[in-house]
């Protein structure tokens, strides 16, 4: 039984060594949690801008539909939506910056 565990731990050690030494692991940094977080951050930002504009457009269109003032609220809320999209991205950027600082040292 003990022999079996010894063999297993040896195999684990070997596998770990191979993983760390592999050049593609070091270059791509797939194991680095920071890189993973940054990848997901990048995927977020673009859509966040779009979502703000779409939401603004929907609200504006709805208000115009109710009050029968066709382009007025649509225009106002399109601009507000765009502003809120940028605001979200700005807040996100500030937050990531302050999150990363203590890790960099």
């Amino acid at each position: 039984m003990a022999d079996k565990f010894d063999k297993l731990s040896e195999r684990i050690k070997k596998a770990k060594l191979i993983r760390r030494d592999a050049p593609e692991n070091i270059e791509a940094g797939t194991d680095d949690p920071l890189t993973r977080a940054q990848t997901s951050m990048g995927m977020r930002l673009g859509i966040e801008l779009l979502a703000g504009v779409i939401t603004g457009a929907i609200i504006g269109y709805f208000l115009d539909y109710i009050f029968n003032t066709m382009p007025l609220f649509l225009l106002i809320f399109l601009l507000l939506g765009a502003a809120s999209g940028f605001w979200t991205v700005y807040k996100l950027a500030i937050k990531t910056q302050s999150d990363n600082k203590p890790e960099q040292k």
């Binding site: 997901s40 779009l50 939401t55 609200i59 507000l80 939506g81 809120s84 605001w87």
Partner: protein
């Protein structure tokens, strides 16, 4: 010709087909291929979790460690982003994560239907998160919840400007949450289909040398499939991560 063209459209894979037509009070609530796929996903997740944990071994086997890995992944994410109070929401986040992950991955099976490529499905999931966040926020903080829309440390005269922008950006959350998932899945599957079409057309164009031209897109598509599987995981991760972040906003007001 028109029929053949329609059959090979890269968007054809997203078509909803009725399996059991059904009508309640003028609303079309047919059982479709989308509903069938969702049922399969739910059944598979349930089977996966129940059977892999059946042994409850101290030293987990392969399937059990997969189940434990997914459990710890979501639990860790909740703990990191929400704190100890997030434990209550583990079932919600775990269910969402597994559902999205399995739908994404099952969508990669050839001829399978990708549930998460439809904005109707992802928007319903996002609204579930959105409504939960509002309900939790109001239940926990009452009227104080509105402070979520006033960032801390902001000068008083800026509040009337920031307040509507914050509200719109809050309302945009379900939109961005659902859009991101649906767009990523749909774009990937369309790309796969288009490149797969290249294999045939390039192969036919180079038929005089044995269709060798089809090899290049064929190699490309095998790379793309790897990328798509990565995206399937990544999108499920992002969906769950954003859910925890939004929950954190509601539970721990700044």
């Amino acid at each position: 010709m028109a029929d053949a063209h329609a059959k090979h459209s890269p968007l054809d894979q997203f078509k909803i087909q009725e399996i059991m037509p059904f009508n309640i009070g003028g609303y079309d609530v047919s059982f479709t291929n989308s509903s069938l796929m969702m049922l399969i996903v739910v059944a598979l997740v349930t089977l996966f979790i129940t059977f892999s944990m059946k042994k409850r071994a101290m030293v987990p086997g392969r399937m059990q460690s997969l189940a434990e890995l997914s459990y710890e992944f979501v639990a860790g994410m909740l703990k990191e982003n929400v704190g100890s109070e997030g434990r209550k929401f583990f079932p919600l986040v775990f269910t969402l994560f597994m559902f999205v992950l399995f739908s994404n991955l099952l969508g990669m099976v050839p001829t399978a239907f990708t549930v998460t490529s439809h904005i109707a499905v992802t928007f319903a999931l996002a609204m579930l998160v959105f409504v939960t966040v509002i309900a939790v926020g109001i239940a926990k903080h009452g009227f104080h919840f509105l402070h979520l829309f006033i960032p801390s440390g902001i000068p008083g005269w800026m509040v009337p400007i920031i307040f509507p922008i914050e509200i719109i950006s809050f309302l945009a959350r379900p939109v961005s949450l659902s859009l991101r998932l649906a767009v990523a899945m749909m774009a990937g599957h369309v790309l796969l289909k288009v490149v797969a079409g290249f294999v045939i057309s390039l192969g036919a164009a180079t038929a005089f040398i044995g269709g060798i031209g089809g090899v290049v897109p064929l190699l490309f598509i095998s790379l793309l499939i790897g990328l798509e599987i990565f995206v399937a995981f990544l999108q499920a991760y992002i969906f769950a991560l954003l859910t925890t972040i939004y929950l954190n906003d509601a539970i721990n007001l700044h």
